[in-house]
């Protein structure tokens, strides 16, 4: 469904990605793990068109999207929950959700999707008229995911959904990620929490300073010595 070939990205003189390739098939959860500064966020932002690639190609459902502006990429069915959540702090939860559906016009289906998102995150329903900036960190993360859901994406890009959350909340978030995937949405998940990510994902890529170091089924990678040592904290 999504195929990234030889992607290189630079920020001025800093080269963040050195020709990475990855694929995501329909219905999968694919995770991209790696330490700080490896280039995970850069990869997601390049896929959504927020950052331009220096070389390489990205195609979605067979259509090249590397040169499209972000707003058209959203309309093709790719939605992102950005790192650090990026909720609209001075707007209410409700307004945030309706901005999630900004690119859509099918009112009835939007209402249904909104219901579904609120079923997944009951806490948000209690806080619909509260301004998003006053939500707790975990609640903001829930809002960012719910908002991305309202774009009714075919492919959802999640950037560190577990960042800064308490263990129980992390567990809830990952449970919901699984539910969203079971509902038919393909997911590309960027995570620091390699343990949880490898647990929930079908396949995984390990990114090290702008290069793919390893790839394979998540269960296998979780067993490999290298990954265990570097990312799972086992001796």
């Amino acid at each position: 469904m999504l195929s990234v070939e030889n992607l290189s990205v630079s920020y001025g003189a800093i080269k963040a990605l050195h020709g990475i390739s990855l694929r995501v098939e329909r219905g999968e959860i694919v995770t991209l793990i790696g330490s700080n500064g490896a280039g995970k966020t850069t990869t997601l932002r390049t896929i959504s068109g927020l950052v331009r690639a220096a070389a390489g190609s990205i195609s979605f459902e067979g259509v090249p999207i590397g040169k499209l502006p972000p707003h058209q990429i959203v309309r093709m069915g790719i939605a992102q929950s950005p790192e650090g959540r990026g909720v609209f702090a001075n707007m209410s939860v409700d307004e945030n959700l309706s901005l999630g559906a900004y690119a859509r016009h099918d009112k009835d289906q939007i209402a249904k999707d909104r219901e579904r998102a609120l079923e997944l995150f009951p806490r948000l329903r209690e806080r619909l008229s509260q301004s998003a900036g006053t939500l707790s960190g975990g609640e903001q993360q829930m809002l960012a995911i719910a908002r991305a859901l309202l774009a009714r994406p075919k492919l959802m890009l999640l950037d560190e959904p577990s960042l800064g959350l308490a263990p129980q909340v992390v567990a809830t978030i990952f449970k919901i990620i699984r539910e969203i995937n079971a509902g038919g949405t393909t997911i590309l998940l960027v995570e620091q929490n390699a343990h949880m990510a490898l647990n929930v994902a079908h396949r995984a890529y390990v990114l090290e300073v702008g290069k793919i170091a390893m790839e394979g089924p998540a269960a296998e990678l979780a067993k490999s010595d290298e990954v265990r040592r570097a990312y799972l904290g086992h001796g």
């Binding site: 068109g49 502006p69 309309r75 990026g86 609209f88 001075n90 999630g100 900004y102």
Partner: protein
């Protein structure tokens, strides 16, 4: 309230249905213009009418600047530049147009555009009115074109950088216009009539300004345009564009991730905003019958920015209220009227009403601010009348103090992003209807 409005509209559909939806703003604007011009103006006399005219033009300027600075959170400091562009274009069209068409630069308007004392007489619409209306429209369109060009760099520049670019734009416009050639004076109308249009187009008076332009601007036209500006701003804000604008203001990257086309909306904000600024420039030039680029410098831009900030970035009602306050203030400072006794009676009534409608625990602060402002006013009055301080000289200092107090008491401005009809008082009543 907008809902209420829509309901009443559908209720009266058989009568109102004849008017197409797109024509509604025009109908409302004509009604408001006529009401102010024929209804209010004769009652209040010449001086107050003159102040109302300034108020109206400032409403157009503040509400339009709010589209860029308030809705999308970009910081434009070049509004006076757009005003100058529109003003010169409109003045040029009316002046040389009159000479070309009728051989003289005399006003040729009907009742709607002749400033006259006492009962208004004569034909409603004169031959010059077409020229006037078209000149304001073209002035607006040319300014909108300039807005498009200035809007483009806003895609790459944020915050301070954009502020500097727009400031630069305003100054460039001023300097270019001051470099235009000498105006052809009315007594040489025959020469001008013989010249081709492209030559006349640059004879805009240079540093001396463009003078002796026939005047057409009346309260009717000013409030017609003020109403149109407010309606356009309201429609922009309440449509899906409105949500796009406000999301850009909150977080550009997240807005893009939601599918908001940044280029389109940032430029659109500039185009709309500068169109109305251009129209305001036309109204201004054709009110005083002259325009001088030197007067439309960055201080004028600041005046408008202060209105938007005072009213609340993003609020139409706020911009209108602030335009009213800050246009009356300089006039009032000349001869500060005393608040004794009726002003204080009014303040007491307002304080009582606030005490009744405001929620518990939130009564005190607004009332203190209200009474404090009134007391401050009496203090200023004392300075002016007893110590003989010429307050208008200190206008900028008074503005600065006003802004400092505002930033401490209410940093989001009088209204924040909200509108008059969003206030709880109206909500409660509206809920039952």
């Amino acid at each position: 309230m907008s809902k209420l409005f829509e309901e009443t509209r559908s209720l009266k559909a058989p009568v109102w249905g004849v008017i197409p939806r797109a024509a509604w703003p025009l109908v409302v604007a004509i009604a408001i213009g006529a009401l102010v011009y024929f209804g209010v103006s004769p009652l209040v006399g010449g001086f107050v009418s003159k102040v109302m005219l300034i108020v109206g033009i400032n409403i157009v300027l503040a509400v339009s600047l709010n589209i860029v600075n308030g809705y999308t959170g970009q910081f434009s400091m070049g509004h006076a530049g757009f005003m100058a562009v529109g003003g010169y274009v409109a003045a040029g069209i009316v002046y040389y147009g009159s000479i070309k068409l009728w051989g003289s630069a005399e006003p040729a308007g009907g009742i709607l555009s002749i400033v006259q004392e006492g009962p208004k007489a004569g034909p409603l619409w004169g031959k010059g009115d077409f020229l006037f209306v078209i000149s304001c429209l073209i002035g607006g369109l040319v300014a909108a074109g300039a807005g498009y060009v200035v809007g483009l760099p806003s895609l790459r520049l944020r915050g301070d950088y954009l502020a500097i670019v727009t400031l630069g734009f305003g100054e460039i416009v001023r300097v270019i216009l001051q470099g235009s050639h000498d105006q052809i004076q009315p007594w040489k109308a025959a020469d001008a009539a013989a010249m081709p249009v492209y030559e006349l187009a640059w004879k805009l008076g240079g540093p001396k300004g463009f003078n002796l332009v026939p005047t057409y601007t009346t309260l009717f036209w000013v409030y017609f345009w003020a109403a149109l500006t407010c309606i356009a701003a309201y429609r922009l804000k309440s449509s899906s564009s409105g949500r796009a604008f406000l999301s850009i203001r909150e977080d550009e990257v997240a807005a893009q991730a939601m599918g908001v086309d940044l280029t389109k909306y940032k430029v659109r904000a500039f185009v709309f905003s500068s169109f109305f600024a251009g129209v305001a420039g036309g109204l201004y030039a054709l009110d005083i019958g002259a325009i001088s680029a030197g007067d439309l410098n960055f201080i004028k831009s600041f005046d408008i920015i202060i209105m938007v900030v005072l009213g609340g970035l993003g609020s139409i009602s706020g911009a209108v209220l602030a335009a009213v306050i800050l246009s009356i203030l300089p006039e009032a400072l000349r001869q500060p009227p005393s608040l004794v006794p009726w002003g204080w009676v009014a303040i007491a009534v307002i304080a009582l009403v606030m005490g009744a409608v405001l929620p518990k625990g939130k009564k005190l602060k607004p009332i203190i601010v209200l009474v404090g402002t009134a007391a401050l006013w009496e203090g200023l009055r004392f300075l002016a009348t007893s110590v003989h301080v010429n307050l208008p000289d200190y206008r900028m200092i008074i503005y600065a103090i006003l802004l400092i107090v505002l930033m401490i008491v209410r940093p989001q401005g009088l209204f924040g992003v909200r509108e008059l009809w969003d206030l709880k008082v109206f909500k409660r009543r509206g809920g039952g209807a």
